[in-house]
Amino acid sequence: MKTTPPYDVLARRAPKNSGAHLFWQTVLARAYPRVIGQQREKSWMFFDVVLPIIGVAAYVFVYRAIQAPEEYVGFVVVGGAMTAFWLNILWSMSSQLYWEKETGNLALYIIAPNSLMAILLGMALGGLLATTLRAVVILVLGSWLFHVQYAVVHFGQLVAIFFLSMVALYGMGMMFASLFLLLSREAWHISNLAQEPVYLISGFYFPVKSLNFWVATAASLIPLTLGLDAMRQLVFPSGATLGFLSVRLELGILIGLCVIFLLAARFLLNYMERLAIREGRLTENRR
């Protein structure tokens, strides 16, 4: 240990922000590892871009094998790009608090003077930025490989739909984070379970209208269902005829989902924290 020079860090009191300033500081700080982590570990390029592209290709060729109209290829490419978000929600949002608990960080997050909501929001923001990059790469590559033609009818609505879908989706992820922690000993089992059923009912590879009306309605609780449906309506010439609901209605529902999921996330997070403190279970890992 060095004793000279006499650093004043030991005597100097640290200035500290509070309130909204602290909240946003926390959001950005927790988003940081998400973005930088991706930068440091390049292997995601293979697993998160090359593999999904190949997965998309498999469904494209199924459609070609059964001589489907070429429109469907575009549907698959757009759906394939959006799977990146669903995977991110499952693997890096929903099961994240569980991993934080296992690595001992959850206790440190709880005792810090910020709100846990800011931590979750930071994870979501970081995950959203990192995943958007992946999704864009999949979309561009897929469109190029399979010669997908787009005809955007309303750019403003498209941006609004994408934005609202993401807010609602990540709100849902934030809600799941507490829920998964409460429900399961090993959260990734739930993540693994929720993968294919959602690909199915949210219509990642076919228009959700092809499903039974009630199934499609129930599936609309997952923000990607309506988000995807609306986006397809807005970017493909025949999209509107295969759409489930009108784009305006879907916009409205998505706004509602945003509010519901963010409120539910907050409620569950508080509940999880209270339970953790009462039972002393959630801050201990089970290795």
Binding site: E41, A57, Y63, H189, L193, P197, L200, F206, P207, S210
Partner: protein
Amino acid sequence: MNQNRTIYWRSFRMAAWLGWQIESNWTDPFLFAVYSFVKPLSGAAILVVMYSVITNGAFGSPVFPYIYLGNAFYQYVGAVMTGVSWAVIDDREHYKTLKYMYVAPISIPIYLLGRGVSRFITGSMSVIITILAGMWFLHVDIDVTAVHWPLFFLSLFIGVVMLAMMGLLLAGVTLLMARHVGFMGEAVAGALYLFSGAIFPLDVLPAWLRPIGYAMPLTYWLELLRRALIGSVADAFPTLSGYSSGQLLAILTALTLLFSAAGILVFRWCDYHAREQGMIDATTNY
């Protein structure tokens, strides 16, 4: 030699037991049952809906059982490869026991193969459930008396060995990698889906991609299983109809040997480098 055999058997048995404890212990039996049904059936239902939308529900065509059975058996690919390779991440980053496994007098590759057993068992359940659902609800007509059972079981066995060795290859790669998304085995299986003729014939692929499919043991394996169960499905697409079942078996066996050798060599190489880079007890959470 004898001592080696003891070590191998001990490693395998212990790992299989451990894998089953982990696999069966994470939830109550009810959720476990839901899990065993929902996941495979949703995967199959995606294809069923796609097929039905385009063909207006022409389930009588031999094309449908071709797709359905290919997809059903393909579940083994993800299950076995994940079972073997996920053990690396699970032990290293979650239970933090990989380093203790390494210092124990066991064989690590055999240990990892043993960890795949539980996934093989649950995978078998998924395959059976998917096929039964097809038979009962979707006109996948398997005549139990007409099935060529010896061919079926022989092909299945060779295929599982092949998948386990591919899982070992992947486990080697995992040793050198960070924890990223979910199950890497599933991800790789998803990618190989394209080249295996599981849900569409290799002829549909662009000409420059077809050789990859022909080099994959999976292609011949799935074709053999389909032939053994419903002979007529092979006629849906003529891609491999020029080969007799015996020829397909020979190709499958040769490719399995080749992939096994590759699995062992790649694992050794990665294992060496993982030690060199100190990855055996790394945690890569972010």
